[in-house]
C-alpha cells in the first residue's frame, strides 16, 4: 500500500496565507499555522567553512560519491513531544563531521545529507537534500553500451555533475526585504517572490523556530531568477478596494475587511499556483517517528515552472516542513533531456523521436545543455557540422 504521507500533489494543509510585504522587487508572503503540534522542532547549526564535502556513500575519508557545496548551516530536527520540549533553547553544538585544513582553507567533511544523531534527533542539510536528489537523477548514465556514448559516459555516468545557484546575499533587495519584514505571531513560513515570480517556499513546524530561522533565508541558495529578475523594477504594491455601496454599518465594514483578508490569501495562493496544487514526484528519505521526510520535484516540463524541494509530512497529512528551490530554465532543460533519454532506454534515435527531432538535433541539444561529454567526440562533431555549427 502506498504511504499516504508521500506527497503526490502539494497542498498547503493546515496552513494559511497572509497579505504580502514588498521591498523593492521582492514580495514576501507570510505563511501562518493556526494549530501548532509542538512535537517537531527545527534548530539551526552553523558551519563556517567555505566548502563542505558530504559523503553520500562509504566512509568519510574514503573515495566514493561526494557532494561538494557551500553549506552555511544545517538543521537539527527533533521529534516526539518530550524531546522537542527538552531540546528547545538548550541546543548544544554537537561535534558534526570533521573539519580539515587544506592549505589556507578549511573544509568540513559530513556524513550524508541526513544523519541520525540521537534516538529522536536528525541532522539534515536544508535544500542540499533536494538539490542532491535533483542532481542524482539518472546520474548513472547509459545502462546499455550504445555505440554513440563515450567511454567516460559509460564508465562514470554523468560524473561530475555540476549545477550553480545564487546565494541569497547576492541580492541587496532580499537583504532589505528580510530586514524590514514584520513577522506575524503565528507565522511559520514564507513564500518568496522576486518580480512576482515564486522563487522559494519555506515552512517549518513551529512559529518560534521560524522566528529564529528567518535571517538564515539570506544564506540559503536560490534559482538564478533571483539575480536575473532583480534588475527589473520594484514589485507593485497591490491595493484592494472596498465597495462602499454594500456597507451600511460598522459590522458590515468589519466583515468587508475580513473578506479583503481572504481575497489576499486567495490571490497569493493563485500566485504560487506553480508549486501549490502541482503534481510532484516524491521520494522518501527518512522516516522519523510519525513524520516522513521526503524530497520531490515537479513535472520538469520545460514550458512550465519547476521546483525541487523537500518536505516533512505528519501522519495526519499536515505539511510540517517545506523548502523549495526554483529551477532555472536551463536546469529544467537538462533534467528534461536526461529524463527523455532515460525513458527511451538511452537510445538516441528513440529519444529523438520522443522529442520530435532528428538524432543530430538531439546531439546539439545535449551539447548546448552541457552534456556534450556523454557522446563520442566524432559523433558529436559530425552532428554539429551537419547542423551548421561546426567549430
Amino acid at each position: 500500500m502506498r504511504d499516504s504521507r508521500l506527497i503526490q500533489r502539494l497542498e498547503p494543509a493546515g496552513l494559511r496565507l497572509a497579505p504580502s510585504q514588498v521591498w523593492g522587487g521582492i514580495r514576501i508572503v507570510p505563511v501562518l499555522r493556526d494549530t501548532v503540534r509542538g512535537d517537531l522542532r527545527l534548530a539551526r547549526r552553523t558551519y563556517d567553512e567555505p566548502v563542505s564535502v558530504v559523503t553520500l556513500k562509504g566512509g568519510l575519508k574514503e573515495p566514493g560519491l561526494k557532494y561538494c557545496a557551500y553549506v552555511p548551516h544545517a538543521m537539527v530536527m527533533t521529534w516526539g513531544k518530550k524531546e522537542a520540549d527538552a531540546v528547545y533553547g538548550t541546543q548544544l553544538q554537537a561535534p558534526d563531521g570533521k573539519r580539515v585544513k587544506v592549505g589556507p582553507f578549511a573544509v568540513r567533511l559530513l556524513h550524508r545529507m541526513v544523519h541520525r544523531e540521537d534516538s529522536h534527533q536528525l541532522r539534515m542539510l536544508p535544500l542540499h537534500l533536494a538539490m542532491e536528489g535533483f542532481m542524482a537523477m539518472h546520474f548513472g548514465g547509459p545502462d546499455i553500451a550504445w555505440t554513440e556514448y563515450s567511454r567516460e559516459a559509460l564508465s562514470h555516468g554523468l560524473n561530475p555533475r555540476i549545477e550553480s545557484a545564487v546565494p541569497g546575499w547576492a541580492s541587496a533587495a532580499l537583504d532589505g526585504a528580510l530586514r524590514t519584514f514584520e513577522i506575524h505571531e503565528q507565522q511559520v513560513g514564507v513564500l518568496l517572490f522576486n518580480a512576482d515570480v515564486l522563487l522559494s517556499a519555506f515552512v517549518v513546524a513551529h512559529p518560534e523556530d521560524y522566528r529564529a530561522l528567518h535571517r538564515t533565508l539570506l544564506e540559503d541558495f536560490y534559482g538564478e531568477l533571483l539575480l536575473q529578475y532583480g534588475f527589473l523594477g520594484a514589485a507593485p504594491e497591490l491595493k484592494l478596494s472596498l465597495d462602499a455601496g454594500t456597507i451600511g454599518s460598522l459590522e458590515e465594514l468589519r466583515a468587508a475587511v475580513t473578506r479583503m483578508r481572504r481575497d489576499w490569501a486567495d490571490f497569493h495562493g493563485f500566485m504560487a499556483g506553480g508549486l501549490f496544487g502541482a503534481e510532484v514526484n516524491s521520494e522518501r528519505v527518512y522516516e522519523a517517528g510519525a513524520f516522513l521526510l521526503q524530497r520531490f520535484h515537479t513535472s520538469l516540463v520545460p514550458s512550465a515552472e519547476n521546483h525541487v524541494g523537500e518536505a516533512i509530512v505528519g501522519e495526519d497529512g499536515t505539511l510540517e516542513y517545506l523548502k523549495t528551490y526554483r529551477l532555472s530554465a536551463s536546469q529544467t532543460r537538462r533534467a528534461y533531456l536526461l529524463q527523455q533519454l532515460a525513458s527511451a532506454g538511452w537510445k538516441l534515435d528513440a529519444a529523438a523521436k520522443r522529442l520530435n527531432a532528428t538524432q543530430d538535433e538531439l546531439a546539439v541539444r545535449l551539447h548546448n545543455a552541457g552534456f556534450g561529454y556523454l557522446l563520442k567526440e566524432h559523433v558529436m562533431e559530425a552532428a554539429l557540422r551537419r547542423q551548421g555549427r561546426g567549430h
Binding site: 497572509a18 497579505p19 504580502s20 510585504q21 507570510p30 524590514t180 514584520e182 513577522i183 506575524h184 505571531e185 504594491e237 497591490l238 491595493k239 484592494l240 478596494s241 472596498l242 462602499a244 456597507i247 451600511g248 454599518s249 460598522l250 465594514l253 468589519r254 468587508a256 475587511v257 479583503m260 483578508r261 489576499w264
Partner: protein
Amino acid sequence: MAAVAEVRIEQVAREDLVMFVNACFSCTGQREFYGDASGQSVSIEFLHQYILGNYRRLYARTLAAGINHFNQAQIILNLLASGSPAAPEDRGEEGALIAAALRGLPPPRAYRVLESLRARRVNNRRARAIAREYLAGRPDLAFDAVKYRSKLRAAVVHGHVKLEGELGPFLVHGWKKRTYTQPLLEAFRKAHYTQDAVFELPYTVAEGLAQRHGIPRDVFLQRIEPRLTQGERLRLQEAAARDSGQAPPVDLERASLTKLALYILALEPGARKERHAQLHAALERAAARVAGRAPSAPGRVAAVLDNSYSASGSLEKRRRPLGVALAAHYLLSTMARDYRAFWTCPVEDALHVQARGQTDIATPLLEALAWAPDLVVIVSDGYDNDPPHAVAELTRVFRAKLDPARRTALVHVNPVFDADAYAPRSFGTAVPTVGVRDAEDLPTVLGFARFAEGSASLAELEGYLGARVGQLLERDARRRERARAEAEGEVE
C-alpha cells in the same frame, strides 16, 4: 480664467507649506526603519531649499510652528546664508525669529549652528550680529568655553566677537599659555596635569581626560556623579550600573515625557515589571506636566497605537516610533476625559509593550470606531501591511457612508518621515496626517491637523503661523526678562 489660476496658486502654496511643516515636525535626517539616512537628508534638504526660494516669509515663520530642533537649526542656517529680506518689516521679524529660535535651541545644537556658519562660509553682518547677541545672552560663557570649546572658538573667531576677561586668551591664544583666575578655566588647565581637577569639569570633557590619566571607569563614574546633567544621568543608567556597580541617582520626575518613554523601553522586560509602580508614576507625572500646558482637552479619545516590528526604528533612532506611541498613550490618557488605547498587537499593560509582529491597524481601528469616540488618534509609521492599504479604504468608506457628518474626528500622527514622498506616509485622503518628533508636541500637532486635512485656507494657515510667531516672541521676551532679573538678583 484668472480666478481659477489664483485659486490653484493658493492651493499649491497651501499644500507646499503643509507638506513642509509636516516634514519639519518629524524628519531629522537620520536613518529610519524603512529609509536610509542619505535619502532622508537629501529629501529634507530639497524641501528646505524649495520653500526658502518660493515662500521666504512663511519659511521664516515656520520656526515658530513647533517644529523639531533639527529643522529649526536648518532654517536658521539657510536664512542666514541667503541674506536679509528687502522689506524692513520682514527684516525685523525674521531677525527676531532667528534670534529667539536660536536661544530656544539646546546649547549643543545652537553652537552647532554657529559652527556650521563657518563651514558654509556664511559671514554677513546679520550672521555676525546674531552670533554676538546669542553669546551675550549666554548665562555662563566660561562653562560654554570649557564644554563647547571648539564650537565656541569657531563662533568667536568667525564672527569677530570680542570676549571679556580671560575667555579671549583661553580660546584664541591657547589654554596652556597662562594660569587663570576663573575657577572652571583653571580647572580645565589643571586637569591636564592632575587627576583631581578632572572631577570639577563637565562630564563630557572629563571623560576624555580621565581616559588620558588612566582613571579606572568605576572610580571616574563615582566621583564625576555630582557633575552629571539630568540627560546624562538618564542616558548612563544601565552603562554605569554595569561599569561601576551603581547607577547615578536620577529624578525620573524631571525627565521629559518622550525621553522617559524611550528610557523605559530600553529596559529589560524583567526590570520593567519590577519597577512597574515607579515607572508608571513617573510617566503619569511627566504626562500631567505636558497636559497642563496644553490648550484644550478633547472629550472622548481613542488611540490606535502601532507596536509592530517597524516601531523599533533604526540604529540611529532606536525604538523612537514605539516611544512616541507609549508617551502619546500616557499623554492622551491624562488629557482626555474618557480614554481607551488600542494597540495593533494587544498588550495587557502599556509599560510592557514591545515592537513585534505585523502592522494590522484595521482591526484596532474598527474596535476604536465601535467605541464611538469624539477623536481617534492613530500613532503609526503609516505602513499597514495586514492587509495593505486597508486603513485607507476603511476610513474612506467610514467617512463616506457611516459618518458623513464628521462626528468622529480622525487624526494620524506619524513619527517617521518618508523621504520618497517628502512627507510622513499617510493613510489615504480621509485621514489627515501630521508628523511628530516628541510626544510633547502632540497638542501643537493636533492643532495643525486641520491644515493637513485641506479644509482650511491659505489665509488661515498664514494667520495660524503669524499667531505662533507672536507667541514665540512673547515667550522669548519673558524668558529674557526673567534671566535678566535673576542676574541682577545675583549681583545685589
